[in-house]
Point group: D4
Chain length 219, copies 8
């Protein structure tokens, strides 16, 4: 078989497996999705194209697609949403990555609040929202180009900030390298970084920390 | 003056300011250390050389130096240690960075457990320790060269893993780039990354998450 | 002429020439394929597109195409398969490169066993297969993203591991650079690396070592 | 001769020639300094070591050295200082580069105000100073590590911001690349960038713009 | 909402907000454009595709498109053009970026003069134009490939030169890196650099300096 | 106008101007071609697409197109071919770049001999041709992937070798960087390098040296 | 403890643990060496400085040091040398890395033959030695600068070639990157690559293949 | 032996072997120097330190050292100098590399003229010298930082220009990468590039072309 599904994972890490669609044929995505769906759990597929979604739909008609974010979901039963994860973006073009993060965090049981287009070029937009953002257990900061949002946020609040550099921009952004380096070199405390455009990774980690903080870490 | 101390920070983020010694003259380090010490709080200085320590000692005779890790500390009163942060290294040469992380996490009030030299080249050494590591609220994984330890750990436990790439190695490690990229591209869930050799950043974030999880997040 | 076929090579290195199709026009591929086919040997062409295959088909109707892997083959007479080469992948998206490796190793006379989707994110999947993998004379480890599979394998078995980084992933994988650096910096023993996505090179080298070990090295 | 002094330059660009000491022997620096001093103008030498200064001192006893900034100066007659250039740094370790900028701007006739250690990790320190900074005709923002200061400044004031990335930091700062890319990719308006650690270039340009704005551009 | 318009900006920085279209859907561009147009100011959108323009046109029929430069504009009332900004290119292929700069500078009220195809490969073409170029308050130098134009210009005139590296070229230009590094390392005085292909940033900064120099800086 | 034709060049450098088509619109190419053609000289355009050729054809019906190499030529009168330039390629996929070089050298009056597919993987193919290659005044060596051909050639013959790295290959060739670095670091004597895929530059330089050697350097 | 010795390794992989000294204090090296020596096996330490050797000597007086190659060895009983591994260098400066490889291969039981300074700049030196080199079971090719030796060798012989890029050279060798890329992109068959300057890794792998081929693979 | 001297080379390429000292021990340099000296030819050693020179001096008392350029020479009999090679530098700090080029070209029999410190920041200094420079058969242009000198020269004269990027500069010069890319991307005709700081390579090639042009190419 071309894919060995990691059914142990739910036991080992507390969450179900998720399908990473990039680089898989649409047939492969559909088969894997179908196999997971057969186990009666909710299923999440990320970085999915419309073509891959259509192949999934043919075998699993209840699957839904969120084009902005590239996500296929099959929600069996709504989780009991707990705690709070804040997802912020610097600009409008960062939203697809933020949606990947937000949908993932929600899939894994977190209440999610969105704060979009609050980047540092007009920093008062961010300050207005700070008291609200601060209420979350963990903050996901999504930014491309110079990527300064994450460090500025981490400098102002006392919650873990998960920084997601995006490939938004052009020229010397070198496909997200610029934002990545900015975030890695932040002088602020309480910040860590995931891969460029990796909304999924940030959403998972955000949900994980949120769950630990709200006292659901042990089950 | 050459340094504006951020006395607000403790209010804003819950932790006091820390002195980053790299690039500062020994005179500057001593003056800043002294000024912070004058406020009767514990003081931490990172990436400090022996020369910088000696300058500090002249103005602040109770300051202590941990050569392995490059830390100067002045501990006024032992914090009440809470929760647990695990600090793991892949090899022996990664220990100075791990010590920076461990000392920082302890400074900010976390119980710290060390698991050194448990890298993937002899993976059974890691497996023996897993049940113990898993008891921590957050795991700091310090590794150079290929840097695979962090991803392997994150794949096996359900706690946030803070990955610290180190510059340990030679040749195509490109001063830590190799471990950094490995960690950023990890397929495992629940992992995020700080700067190369940034034990301080990992220790702070580990203490922060640990504090939130053990229910001290609000004060 | 646009191509000087290296007919000496079989004498010099023991294996026939192989056509590398990338960058050649479909007409060029067809002419070269035809010329080699005219010598009554089996022919292999790698990194071939469907269009190139169709041009070959027009001049050589028995030629076959394996889309997953991009290979055109003309098998005159089945080789006598000897020894064993194991081909492992970390994920599903690495399979095309693994197929290039597997088909090449088979073309040059090796028995090939495939172990797909056994990456380190769910490391028990790999452990289950270890006793079987260990029976091979040489192991080809194909992995993208963080690329940790090869080093973990090399740390657990006493056979040469040929590491093939793939361009699978996104963002800070930098088109395979991440997996390449991971593999080059592996702390494990008995590992070496070929170019990103170079299934062919790994398959050739695997077959070569396998042939030497099974005592056919001299003919 | 090893150096052709560009005496036309004052006519052509309005300012005298400056000696860039890096890569020159101390003898060469001394000879060039002496030749310029012989023309009765003020002389500036940048990126100078103490050894180079001592060689200059032997031939030109009135020359002065500013260790913090690496500058040798010979001031014949105090210029009539005009306008205002603000020089800001993110941290303490950025000060040597800032001093190079400040001294250069003053050498070319600008009033200079210094705002040091006002980086974004404690952004209130910056806000306190904004009304004052805004009074300058041009702002020089010097920052290493993540380098976010320049973009944040440019987003808040309506004056040209000259961004100077510094090599301050470690690891994934890649000797200043991080701050450089941050500044080049800033989403703020009214910002441009000079070479890493190039305090001189920023100081010259700042003085030039300041002079044009205060109406002394023509003489 | 997906975009928080920065209406304060005109107050804060003296110029209105501009829409950066890259990475936004055509629907998003149209909505934002429409919202800004509703405030009766002129509107500028950069890096816009024809599809984005057509979406804007549907909601705002007076909007105009300049394909060469990728700009959508809605001019309510012609500004009173002041001072002079010179825009130079090294070659013909650099013109789209230069047009972005020129249109932006004009949008913000500068008289603009264009000097195209005056690169250093035939340096007499540049010398013929120097006396004219020198009359501007600020010079924008747009060049790809080796990017030497900006430094040569800055060496010959006593006005600030804003260097815009372009991605024009191939091979070891590495998508504009070559021209970017050339410009950052220029030995000439009075030069600073913006992002690769960032005509907008250069045009804004050029207009800002021009406005300050012609004495309109205070309003 | 968008292009200032450098008519002085023939006087200054001895050869006419050439049109570099990359980045120009097809209309621009046609206009420039037409203007040059109007001066009764032969015209060469490089890196031209079929679309650009068709636009040229409309205004200049005698223009010819060489798809393999991307060249448009208008030959008024055959030059008197002198001396000899050898053009070698490592593989078949390098031929388009080699044809650009060969056609350029011929355009500028050199006799050209082609030696294609003589790379080091089958080094006897190269040795067979050495005595012939050695007769040229200058050798152009075109190679992608590892790019070793140029250094091996330079080690065996006593004529200048112009090395042209190509972007042929994949993975860690990084679009020609690999061959470029190989050639720059060659331990052989008498070798220099042009830009990746720059057949034109090599052809021009080859013709220039050839002309000097055959004693036509002075006219 | 700072080091968990992998005593299982000999069972698992057939070879004993080796000490990698880089990044360890001399005290750590001495303690680890001593602990391994206490088990009555031969001990090998690589990348060792003279200081580290002296610390080892204090606890283990029979230990020997090979400065050229940076190796500390304690040989309990001479292994029964089998088969043959050829170690070739391109130049003289590559010898330390080659010695690391040769000593490692010998330590693990291989007969080793050295062929030094046979690089491609004078390729006849290599040809003279080919018949001899070809007798080995595996060839280690050590080269810096352009690194072409490995590919040329692999093109001429029918044995696995392990390519070791070295950091020998300057400028655009970028500390070994040039040779590394050359070797990864080699068009020859039967070649794979280890880290820059990693003589140890090549020696180990060479000995491992050699052992398998001579039929000692099973014990 | 550690070095196989390439005595064939003079026959094959017309010039004797040269010792590249970087990475060799001083003992090795001395032995090789001595062996070559024993053959009664002149000897040249490049990139030599003072220590290496002293070791040579012990075995070969007539050897001379040129510190500025790092060259050891033993001149048996003055060559008959022919033709002319021009060596130009942009700045004073480029002189050591230029001296390596000049001394090498002279060693191989060329008349050499030096034009130092004629870089583009003060371009009139270059223009003054043009008529003289143009008389040479080949021009070597040595420049660091932005490296524009080579392209400007090639644009103005009709002789081959050999561009030598140097590592002179700091920050975003990235140890010579900046000048290297500038030169590779030059839009001028008749230019080719050697390795960063490779004065030797340029000097050799310059002498080789000069010899061919002056009609000594055939012997
Ligand atoms: N080792 C470290 N790496 C990165 N950041 C640090 C480190 N140590 C301290 N810091 C941060 O740097 C700040 C102090 O910077 P400074 O004002 O330059 O001393 C501290 O408040 C920390 O947020
Ligand atoms: N071509 C451009 N390149 C860089 N920045 C731009 C460009 N066009 C507009 N901007 C900036 O981007 C801001 C708008 O970003 P956004 O809110 O994402 O539309 C504008 O206010 C400008 O400061
Ligand atoms: N393929 C090429 N690569 C690099 N430079 C070229 C190429 N073709 C032409 N050129 C140069 O580019 C100049 C024309 O540039 P342009 O004025 O933009 O058409 C010619 O005079 C040549 O010097
Ligand atoms: N400075 C230099 N840079 C590059 N190559 C050099 C240099 N000096 C000498 N060489 C070349 O290196 C060869 C000697 O290398 P080796 O045998 O290691 O001494 C000479 O024959 C030259 O071809
Ligand atoms: Mg914080
Ligand atoms: Mg986990
Ligand atoms: Mg192994
Ligand atoms: Mg502003
Ligand atoms: Mg100027
Ligand atoms: Mg030669
Ligand atoms: Mg071979
Ligand atoms: Mg020329």
């Amino acid at each position: 078989g071309f894919a060995r599904i990691d059914h142990h994972r739910k036991l080992r890490t507390g969450f179900g497996e998720v399908i990473f669609c990039k680089g898989k044929t649409k047939e492969q995505v559909a088969v894997i999705f179908d196999r997971l769906a057969a186990r009666d759990t909710s299923v999440l597929a990320t970085k999915a194209t419309k073509e891959q979604y259509e192949a999934v739909l043919a075998v699993c008609p209840q699957a839904e697609y969120q084009e902005n974010g590239g996500l296929i979901t099959l929600i069996r039963e709504q989780p009991q949403y707990i705690g709070e994860v804040a997802v912020c973006t610097a600009g409008t073009a960062d939203i697809p990555v933020a949606e990947e993060a937000a949908a993932t965090a929600a899939f894994f049981g977190a209440n999610v609040k969105r704060y979009y287009d609050v980047g540092v070029a007009g920093i008062h937009r961010l300050f207005d929202k700070l008291p609200e953002i601060e209420r979350a257990n963990v903050v996901i900061a999504v930014a491309g180009m110079e990527g300064a949002l994450a460090g500025v946020l981490a400098g102002m609040i006392d919650k873990p900030v998960i920084a997601v550099p995006t490939s938004v921009g052009y020229g010397a952004n070198f496909h997200g390298l610029s934002a990545l380096l900015t975030m890695l070199n932040s002088c602020a405390d309480g910040i860590s970084v995931v891969n460029i455009d990796n909304g999924y990774g940030a959403g998972y980690l955000g949900a994980q920390i949120n769950r630990l903080v709200t006292g659901k870490g042990e089950e």
